[in-house]
C-alpha cells in the first residue's frame, strides 16, 4: 500500500517528465533529419571532399559514446564558448547530432537501393541533378527509410534517458530524484519503464500510420520491392 501511495503522489511529477522526454526526442529527430539528409546526399553524390567530411562526421558521432558527448558539449564546448544553452537544448543538440549520423546511413542505404534508372530518367527529361534528387530520389528514398527511421526513433527515445546526467528534467531524472528520497526504486522505475514503453508504442503506431498514408499504391506495405 505504502508503495502505491508513493507512486501515486509522484506520478504527476514523473508524467510531466514525459513531455520533456518527448520534447528531446522530437527535436533531436528533427535535427537529425535536417542534417542526416544532406549528409547522406554528400556521401552518395558528393565529390571526394564532401564524402570525406561526411564520413568523418559519421565516424565521430557513431564512435564516441553519447555520455562522453553530453559532457563534451555541455560542460566543455558550450560553456567554454559562453553559449547560453541549457541542459535541455544541449541534450537535444547532442542526441540530434548523433542521430544525424545514424539517419544519414539509413537514407544513404535507401538512396542506393533505388534503381539507377530513376535518376537517369529524370536527367533524360532535362531535370538538373538537384531537381532529380529533390523531386525523384528523395521522395522515394525517404519513404523507403520510414521503417528504419521508426527504429531510430525508438533507439533515440531510450538513449534520451541518459540526458539525466546533465540535470535535464526528463522521465529518468525525475524518477531518480523521487526514488532517491523515498527508496521506492522498484515501483517507481517500473512506472518509468512503463512510460517509456507507452511512448514507444504511441510513436511507432504514429509512424506506421504515416508509412501507410505515404505508401505508393500497388507496392507491398513497407514499399520495398517492385512487383
Amino acid at each position: 500500500m505504502q508503495h502505491l501511495i508513493v507512486v501515486w503522489n509522484a506520478s504527476p511529477y514523473i508524467f510531466g517528465g514525459s513531455c520533456v522526454t518527448v520534447g528531446i526526442v522530437v527535436l533531436a529527430l528533427a535535427l537529425g533529419l535536417m542534417l542526416g539528409v544532406p549528409l547522406a546526399l554528400a556521401q552518395v553524390y558528393g565529390g571526394v571532399l564532401a564524402r570525406r567530411c561526411a564520413g568523418l562526421y559519421v565516424w565521430f558521432f557513431r564512435g564516441v559514446p553519447i555520455l562522453v558527448q553530453l559532457f563534451l558539449f555541455y560542460f566543455g564546448l558550450f560553456s567554454s564558448l559562453d553559449l547560453p544553452i541549457n541542459a535541455f537544448f544541449s541534450s537535444c543538440i547532442v542526441l540530434g547530432l548523433t542521430s544525424a549520423a545514424y539517419q544519414s546511413q539509413i537514407f544513404r542505404g535507401a538512396i542506393l537501393s533505388l534503381p539507377s534508372g530513376q535518376f537517369k530518367a529524370g536527367r533524360a527529361l532535362g531535370m538538373s541533378d538537384a531537381c532529380s534528387v529533390r523531386c525523384i530520389i528523395l521522395p522515394q528514398a525517404l519513404r523507403l527509410s520510414l521503417p528504419g527511421w521508426a527504429n531510430e526513433f525508438s533507439i533515440l527515445l531510450k538513449d534520451s534517458a541518459i540526458c539525466f546526467v546533465l540535470g535535464t528534467q526528463e522521465i529518468m531524472a525525475r524518477t531518480h530524484f523521487v526514488a532517491s528520497r523515498t527508496h521506492e526504486h522498484l515501483a517507481l522505475f517500473m512506472l518509468a519503464g512503463l512510460l517509456y514503453f507507452l511512448i514507444t508504442l504511441a510513436g511507432l503506431t504514429l509512424l506506421r500510420r504515416l508509412e501507410n498514408a505515404l505508401s505508393t499504391p500497388g507496392y507491398a506495405a513497407g514499399g520495398t520491392g517492385a512487383q
Binding site: K120, A121, A124, L125, M127, I136, Q140, P217, G218
Partner: protein, 247 residues
Amino acid sequence: MMETPVLCIENITLTLGGRKILDQVCLDIQRGELKVLIGPSGAGKSSLLQCINHLVRPDSGIIRLEGEKLDAANTRALCSFRTHVGMIFQDFNLFDHLSAEENVAIALRKVRGFPRRAALDRALEELGRVGLARYAALYPAQLSGGQKQRVAIARALAMDPKVILLDEPTSALDPELVGEVLAVIRELAKAGMTMLMATHQMDFARALANEILFMEHGVIVERGTPEELLRPDAVTRTRDFCAKLVV
C-alpha cells in the same frame, strides 16, 4: 540542298574499363525519319543512345541538334538539349512514387515551369494520345508493362521533343503486350516524329524504318534501307542476324 539533320552524330567514341564500347560512330537523322539500330546484345546500342544525350559521357565526338553543336560542359545547355531529345528506356524507368499522370506532368512543372493544373491537363492529353487517359490516376506498380511503356512515351512526348531515342522499348515486355507499344510508335512515325530506335522487332523495322543500322562491337557495320539489307537475295550481316532471330 539537303536540309539540316535534326540530329547529327559524328565520331562518337566511348571506352569503359579499357574496352572500346563505341568506335567512331556517325549517323544523322532527317526530320520525320525513323532509323532503326539493330545488332546482337552487347553491340553497344544502349551505350550509343545514352551517349547521344550524355547520360553516358562519350570520350569524344560531336552531337548536333538541328545543326547546333551540344556543349556538354555547359550544364544548362545540356539540360535544355535533353528536354529536346526524348528517351524511352527498355525497362520504362517510370517514377515509382508518382501516378501515371504525375509521371508525365512532373518534368513539365519542374523543367518547363508549367503551373500544376496546366501540367496535369497536358499530361492527360498526352496519356490520351497513347490510349491511357483512363489510367491517369494509377501508379506504375498497378500498370502492365505495355501500359508502363506507353506512359513513358507520353512522358517523353509531353516535352515536345525534336527527336526521340528508343532503347529496345518492347524487349522487357511479355509477347502479348508488344503490339500495343509498337502501335503507339507506329502512330508517332506516321505523324512525322523523328526517331532513333534500337529494336529486335524486324517486321516493324522492315515496314517502317527509313534506314536500318546494323551494329556490332561498337561499330555500325552496315546501313541501308530495309529493302537493301533484307531482300531475299541480299548477302548482308543484317540478313544473317535476322535469320538467327527468327529461329
